[in-house]
Symmetry: C2
Subunit: 361 residues, 2 copies
């Protein structure tokens, strides 16, 4: 198949402006690599609340269903912060999309790019040792979706409750993905749980051990989540692939992203068993800088590359984008937030970054 339909969901804040650059780059590769992309744009998040009364309108969901992959920008902003949780742009769009398409596999690479070590919030010697991890997070189970969830009782005895829950098969399918990914990387999986306290984690650890037998060439370590959070600061270079359930993956992948100090460079993929997926930058909608043309489009562009790789199987085109991005970064072609104060006058705009990368592919 050489013609694909992409559901484009720019969202709020900087979403639309960085999305425009990702499309620019996709346009460049589709010519070069001989496939065509049909973009269909839909409202999501805050703008969807404004235009249609809900963060994930039926037309948006239908558009996603009719597509080969979803390219997602970012959602949310102060305007919608007072809404009840399930109506909020981020939660109200992302959780239903993950559930609806069974996007159980979240891949979040986080690395410190050579030359950008000084952006990391870590001590210079720790950052210099390097950091390059892939967080593999289970995304449709655990305490996010476990039932029962709710409230009961009266007055001061009223309780709120949630259920953390994993089945063997849920753990097994995400564990296989982590081990396979480790084979193509550093060959080490660190599984993160809280098996000294949680029954869910004891089962998690058992299944991960079973899966590990199929990958004798991959080293498996286990860490408790509290210890993992500390080891990420003490010696982050030790990690390769991090395998986590939904909640621990939420926490640890954000810690890993912050460790790089360059959130604007980090893409993500959320996949189902058929390699259908949603691709989005790791950072947020950054309403404070929206509309100024200074947002970094790289995370969105690398998310588009992941889309080509995982959902469209256009590996060569994906690699071309990754290489073009590395070229931009290594040549010091950077947006302002990646530059020290005294070099801010050399900052490239959002569209200059997109132009450079589109030309380099």
């Amino acid at each position: 198949k050489q013609n694909y339909r992409i559901a484009v969901l720019p969202g709020d804040g900087i979403g639309p402006e960085v999305m425009a650059e990702a499309i620019k780059v996709l346009d460049a590769v589709q010519q070069k690599f001989g496939f065509t992309l049909d973009y269909q744009q839909y409202d999501v998040g805050g703008i969807a609340i404004d235009n249609h009364g809900e963060p994930l309108p039926p037309a948006t969901l239908a558009g996603c269903e009719a597509s080969d992959a979803i390219l997602f920008g970012s959602v949310g902003g102060p305007k919608w912060e007072g809404l009840p949780p399930e109506k909020q742009p981020e939660r109200g769009a992302l959780l239903p999309l993950r559930g609806h398409f069974d996007l159980f596999c979240n891949l979040r690479p986080a690395k410190i790019h050579p030359g950008l070590e000084s952006l990391a919030p870590l001590r210079a010697d720790i950052a210099a040792a390097g950091f390059d991890v892939l967080c593999v997070r289970e995304l449709t189970g655990g305490i996010y979706f476990g039932k029962p969830k709710g409230r009961e009782g009266e007055g001061e005895d009223e309780t709120g409750f949630d259920t953390m829950k994993y089945s063997r098969k849920e753990v097994r399918r995400i564990a296989h993905i982590a081990f396979q990914a480790a084979r193509g990387r550093g060959g080490v999986v660190t599984s993160v749980d809280k098996a000294n306290v949680l029954a869910t984690s004891i089962l998690w650890r058992e299944v991960v051990e079973e899966v590990a037998k199929d990958y004798p060439d991959v080293t498996l370590n286990h860490l408790y989540i509290d210890n993992a959070t500390m080891q990420m600061l003490r010696y982050p270079a030790q990690f390769d692939v991090l395998l986590c359930g939904n909640l621990f993956g939420d926490i640890l992948s954000d810690e890993a992203a912050m460790i790089t100090g360059s959130m604007g460079l980090l893409p993500s993929a959320s996949l189902n068993a058929d390699d259908f997926g949603l691709y989005e930058p790791a950072g947020g909608s950054a309403p404070d800088i929206a509309g100024q043309g200074i947002a970094n489009p790289v995370a969105q562009i690398l998310s588009a590359a992941m889309l080509l790789r995982f959902s469209l199987k256009q590996e060569a085109a994906a690699n071309a984008i990754d290489t073009a991005v590395s070229k931009a970064l290594s040549e010091g072609y950077l947006t302002g937030e990646l530059l020290p104060a005294e070099k801010r006058d050399q900052a490239k705009s959002t569209s200059q970054m997109g132009d450079f990368i589109a030309q380099a592919v």
Copy 2:
């Protein structure tokens, strides 16, 4: 009352050697401040498994019941790592003690001592801004103790499950402690939850908002746990008191401890409604350096000071210990792990640290 009984549980690894120094310091203050301490020592953790077949033997529990407070060392080591979770030294001793005595309030101060900024794993400019937080963690509820917890189903459909649960009154009592603590500190409470996903967190947030009305002089902020983990790295100086449930507090208090880069200095208190408490260092049993006389006793000594302050109401004696410790640290009287490699020859031994602090009180 001027005569107190203290249950002393040294435990494993460096536990006994740092405990000896804490006792030395307690002996010094009891003379000076005119009260007497009757120490009763009991096995706990690995040594209790070896001597009595279980990490928390009945005699130890009975000894704790007969005392005014528990001074706990640290437990665990490679010898007992293969045991099933509930039999392991740490979990098998701490969780039952917390549950039995209803130690719902965990206080974990974490700060970067002036002069020790370079130990922090953070970038120099971030560490230089300072870091001084108090983690207030709920310790007897949440997903640690919520029922049901266990396994069900067969084969690949077998699931493990845990229940996160908080009642209004559980949230209320820990929230009051956080707000009161903030009054005596920086006046800011940051409550950490995951209210965009968890029903428990929505109730948590509601109750914390209610409690905040009683403290108009204290500022309240809310952060999602994933964002809190990031903000702790980006700009840790912004935090004062962190208020968390059991699981998020486990993660965030360990992250805060690691941020200081000097875990050997950090004490903790776990209290019930009657101010009975268990006091222990934040770090572990460090079996790799046990018996060498090089472990830092400060965390154990500061834990003893918390014991005097919270359970025995001997504030003056507690302050004297805190002041003596600050004197040691500011005069560069330090154990080896706090010194740069080229100054290691000036390192003080475990007992030298204890002697200095005992003399200084």
